[in-house]
Symmetry: C2
Subunit: 157 residues, 2 copies
DNA sequence: CCCTAACGTTAGTAACACTAACGTTAGGTC
DNA sequence: GACCTAACGTTAGTGTTACTAACGTTAGGG
């Protein structure tokens, strides 16, 4: 495994102030750190972020078609195929044709999947702790709130 | 141009609450919005984010070797080659061998480059305004402060 | 004189986020 | 019923990104 890591500047203090205070740059760097941390922890459990997002969505809104899962997770429907294939191989979800609309598959979370998801929840909580380590609980909440406002604004185009 | 846009969920309100409040996910989505906005504005001026970062660094710390520029911008040194080739073609920077150490190139910002950079500065300011539109000035400053703390913490590994 | 390491450069690559196209199925409209 | 349009799941392919690997050149220390 080629240890994909996108390490930024070796000497962060040499980064120009103009760049250091750019929100878009800081978001990008935050994403790099977040992905490194969460990929590492999830990989230890044999999971990916897409699998986690899919399982959470199934728990949240119950059995759903692949198209509905795509819409709710943001994962492209052509990628969802492989995500679900992985999850059915390990029997964490079940994929069956919808008798009421035979174009659709109905994807269902199995008890084993729910149990595994519980483990992943804890792993993900740990990744958030590691990512947000330098912030107080109040600051973490504030950061999430601000980021949600930005995402809501740009998602509701 | 294939309009690369990574649009997330079509229906954002259907995203599970657990995912919606995940800092790592919000950072990723913020990055998507930020890149879409800044790529679009910079492309209108024929520039890229890497070119901008390189020019800012040259203005900030003066003439430098490609390795130094790599370290300060976070752009990989194998990618820096092409960035500088683009900038020398338009005569915004000059690339000359260092007489004191012939392994190095000394990259210098030209007056034309400085002038162009001034234009790009304004474009980038506009991208930040568009990205952070839903936030007050105080909230924008707070967001930048929090993101800097996170980046500093994880960069100083 | 070696040996090691840094420099710039080129080529290649794994992962990601798509697009395009296909066969199948559903739901209208004539 | 015949037709048309659109949604579904699936596969294959593609452009971009952020790297790794390797190379020749140059510098410096033992």
């Amino acid at each position: 495994m080629p240890e994909r890591d996108r390490h930024g500047p070796t000497n962060p203090s040499a980064v120009p102030a103009r760049l250091r205070s750019l929100a878009s740059r800081l978001l990008g760097r935050g994403t790099v750190h977040a992905e490194r941390i969460s990929n590492a922890r999830l990989a230890a459990a044999g999971a990916t972020r897409w699998q986690y997002a899919t399982l959470v969505t199934l728990r949240d809104s119950g059995p759903a078609s692949q198209a509905a899962l795509s819409e709710r997770t943001g994962i492209h429907r052509s990628d969802m195929v492989a995500v679900l294939s992985g999850l059915t191989e390990t029997a964490y979800v079940q994929r069956a044709p919808d008798p009421a609309d035979r174009r659709r598959n109905i994807v269902t979370l199995t008890p084993a999947g729910r149990s595994w998801l519980h483990t992943l929840d804890q792993l993900v909580d740990e990744t958030q702790d590691e990512l947000l380590a330098p912030l107080t609980p109040a600051e973490r909440a504030e950061l999430v709130r601000l980021l949600q406002r930005i995402d809501d604004h740009h998602s509701a185009h």
